[in-house]
Symmetry: C2
Subunit: 287 residues, 2 copies
């Protein structure tokens, strides 16, 4: 059996009891470690599980999936995924390959950022499609997220923005010299996300949002020290210090809001009076 086990969002104790039992009994345990991270190290997990785990990077999952699945017709293999196995990153390819090999598959769900973000106080019913924000480079500044945000905003819905992480990226200079040296990991902050969003609005000028649009920055959602900072996009450009360590994510508000959402979220505002003023003029009873 191939078990896809969600680890939840924060630390080693966020695994479910069902998931932990599977991890303890499986023949081999892999940890998918390139699309998200827990806030604890591999060593902490290994100690907690009482066994060693194999870190599965993108290369391994995409090119060597048959190694992961070896003998899973008769043995139990656990494939651990931060969040939920079918959440922000789905591992449908691995499941499809398992089906081809007649390997039974079972999944153990857990909290995903796509539902965990509800802890900010906005109702999940009022969210539209989720978008991703990648790190802009000198010559790659993709703005397709802007069209998706526009679709959500046009019908009044909130948008969850998931922020890029770069782990195990080869250093290009070394690569050119024939050596593989990995860059230190990078995690996008809310500040970077907000400023990239404003840059794209500046370029596209379709009034999808503005510096004064209300948004919520989130850090370490689901962790004991999760932090939410609410403010305008301009304010969130400078909120990284308040938010602290990774992982960050963000929500851009839509106009279809409920007064209870405001009561809850205002408490997180950088500037409560400004938040309330913008809420009343731009959001309240607008749809």
């Amino acid at each position: 059996m191939l078990y896809l086990v969600g680890l939840g969002l924060s630390d080693e104790t966020d695994i479910t009891v069902k998931g932990l039992e599977i991890v303890k009994k499986a023949s081999r345990v892999y940890l998918e470690a390139y699309t998200s991270i827990l806030l604890v190290d591999q060593a902490v997990l290994e100690k907690y599980y009482g066994r060693s785990i194999v870190i599965a990077d993108r290369e391994m999952v995409e090119s060597q999936s048959d190694d992961i699945l070896a003998n899973a017709q008769t043995e139990d293999v656990a494939f651990l995924v931060v969040g939920d196995p079918f959440g922000a990153t789905t591992h449908t390819d691995l499941v499809l390959r398992a089906r081809e090999l007649s390997i039974p598959v079972s999944s153990v769900p857990n909290a995903s950022i796509m539902s965990g973000i509800g802890a900010c106080g906005l109702q999940l019913y009022n969210f539209g499609q989720t978008v991703s924000m990648v790190f802009f480079t000198d010559n790659w500044r993709p703005d397709s997220f802007y069209d998706r945000v526009k679709e959500n905003r046009d019908i009044g819905l909130h948008t969850l923005v998931l922020l890029d992480i770069k782990v195990k990226e080869p250093n290009l200079e070394s690569l050119a010299r024939g050596r593989i040296v990995y860059e230190p990991p990078r995690y996008m902050t809310v500040g970077t996300c907000a400023s990239q969003m404003l840059e794209v609005e500046e370029k596209r000028k379709e009034d999808v949002y503005s510096e004064d649009s209300l948004a919520i920055g989130a850090a370490r959602v689901g962790g004991r020290d999760q932090v939410f900072v609410a403010g305008t996009l301009r304010e969130l450009c400078d909120a990284d210090e308040r938010l602290g360590l990774p992982l960050h994510s963000m929500v851009l508000l839509g106009r279809r809001t409920h007064e209870l959402e405001n009561d809850f979220v205002r408490d997180f505002a950088v500037d409560k009076e400004k938040w309330q003023r913008l809420w009343e003029s731009e959001y309240q009873n607008k749809q």
Copy 2:
């Protein structure tokens, strides 16, 4: 401290290790039992936790929240919620009341149907807003869901439909005679949902979807015996036997699809050839 603890979707072992530790230590434990249910009984939970729990019905949560919160400034109170505490049903009112009483609040996330539905193989990125379907009665057949589905379909997105449950509903005849007798619980099936959806399309005639629209019925998502049945809305009207026991939910597909989603989902189809034909003519490469 008030702890909101998510229980996940299926049985007693879906609680996280972190959540279980809190339940074992708290002074009092409440189980919110009117917006969703686990697939196991209270007695199973109590045995598993090694302690008694208080069932909190709607009346208690909405009108007697101060009893739930009593002394939580100094004691730990655990409030258990099926799924995620901020998922399909949010308990923001309880948190806001706790804030007023200067009670610190902590939440333990878990799988929600709103992310767990990803196990059907559709990418959560391609979902629009979630809608709810209530049991139609002779004189109450609300169709506001139809407008939401239309918004999603217009931009090619999938729609998760959450199905009504009725627990602890008073029998109206007895009530008129001054006695409170509760009806047996009722859980909407995919068949009822699909036929109510077709009824509303028939009435509104805005071509939001049709009998041949593709959809997925889901039963006991997150459980060891979860079942998905894929088919047209007409086919899903008759799929209750294949789906089996509650809880059910449903997804209506949008046109913004990925070939990998089809590869995954087709396996669940009532009629694979028909599914493939409709997929190719109505969905594939349409957006």
